[in-house]
Symmetry: C2
Subunit: 278 residues, 2 copies
């Protein structure tokens, strides 16, 4: 006859955890039913499944109320995976990204996609290069392209050429480095709540880098907050700027006017930047 | 003045989802407190943080009670991430795996580790090859090595040489293929609940593959269930067998006796195989 092990002090704690897990599992199933209803409604009204604006406010509300041992990143990590289940319940969506010959970059791209769109995101499509990836966006073979901000010099000409739209951006922490991604679609996304604007400018005439930087620095005085400047070409003729405002925001009108008077504005679109890096 | 958008039919559903999310977030924080208590207890008693046996029964209970739109895989995916937060709350653990020159293999290794041990698993260490990885296990620089079953011919000689222990196995679904991983440690894991046994055998004298297979097939009659046979060497002298029983299980005693009489048994250890692939 086998002896039963005596109860350990942690068994009581484990019972409490099991009870919590049962409640969470039941809440997840209730949630799925509501999501399923939303999916039915969306399919009748042509509302898109991916809604970065709704997600932003939904997650912000949770993070604002977050008190306890779990950090905002911890909570965000779990809820991104919970939300990702919704994409499939509402009918699924196709995401494309590029697979590079560099091991670390490819892993980074895939980890980024899966952190944001679900560990089990079943509809991930891999392409050799940005040209092929953007081609599938134009042909609507995939719904969204996920691109690395650090590759902007490669994909920004295609973004302008095909008049594509940035829907959202998010930042992934991987190997102790932060990587910013953008989510691109053929369809426009127009809303007053979009919290960031991307502007691509070209210099009207050749200039030195010092001159350019001085001009931009002077304009920054007209901005209530930081602007991020990314050179797109080696000769410093094209730049990608990101500003923490909607392009219709009255706080940046003066700045955008100055930009248009000084440079060629090749591209300008507002999008939704995700809450925090994780 | 800005007009407020009229309420949409989905707003009511979204309110319900938000209420559920608030409850889940609160339950996650309560759970974290209990986990923290367990962590304190474990640190005083030297009980290991990673407990594949407890996880197996914890998750099985949830999956047994799972009814609704979310599949077992969906629920498992969320709970694996919830459990992974516990590892850090209890003090953290170090995991090693290999990074290969092949893009797809490396991504696969990393996705496997992150699905099982957490998207944000902060203590992942990458090594060039299995020799270096197993060296860190022997020196206790990392707590566990996560290895791909398909690479068993590479790492099994090191497993035998250093007398290491398999603690668990899990199966990851990636790019529509299933990959089995094993989690290896320097410490033994002894429990009646372990549900699988790994045996590595060598032929006493050279034999043909056909003979070997016939011998093993005959022995399989003594097993109540399937046995998996993986050749480890090109000359078919070494094999890795996995059996769905604990080595102390009376159902496999006859089979293990036959094995020991017919072959050299180089290695035998029981471990915990995870519930389902995801």
């Amino acid at each position: 006859m086998k002896m039963k092990k005596p109860l350990q002090p942690i068994d009581n704690l484990r019972c409490k955890i099991d009870a919590i897990d049962t409640q969470i599992a039941s809440l997840l199933q209730q949630r799925a039913q509501h999501v399923n209803e939303i999916g039915k409604y969306k399919s009748h009204t042509n509302i898109t499944i991916y809604n970065p604006i709704r997600e932003f406010f939904q997650l912000n509300k949770l993070l604002d109320g977050n008190v306890g041992l779990l950090s905002n990143k911890n909570v965000l990590g779990i809820f991104r995976q919970i939300i990702s289940l919704s994409y499939n319940l509402e009918g699924g969506m196709k995401l494309g990204f590029i697979e590079t010959p560099t091991t670390q970059n490819s892993t980074l791209m895939e980890i980024g996609c899966r952190k944001q769109f679900g560990l089990n995101a079943p509809h991930l499509y891999r392409y050799e290069n940005y040209k092929k990836l953007f081609h599938t966006i134009v042909n609507q073979e995939v719904d969204y392209a996920v691109v690395a901000m650090s590759d902007a010099s490669e994909w920004s000409p295609l973004l302008i050429k095909h008049k594509l739209h940035i829907h959202s951006s998010f930042v992934t922490e991987h190997l102790e480095a932060l990587t910013e991604f953008m989510v691109i679609s053929q369809k426009p996304l127009d809303d007053d709540n979009l919290n960031k604007t991307c502007v691509i400018i070209s210099c009207k005439q050749p200039s030195t880098l010092a001159n350019l930087e001085r001009t931009l620095l002077e304009m920054r005085d007209k901005l209530p907050q930081e602007i991020n400047i990314l050179p797109l070409t080696k000769n410093n003729q094209k730049f990608l700027l990101t500003i923490n405002n909607n392009s219709s925001d009255k706080n940046i009108v003066a700045f955008l006017n100055d930009l248009q008077n000084t440079f060629c504005v090749d591209y300008m679109v507002s999008y939704m930047a995700a809450n925090i890096a994780y």
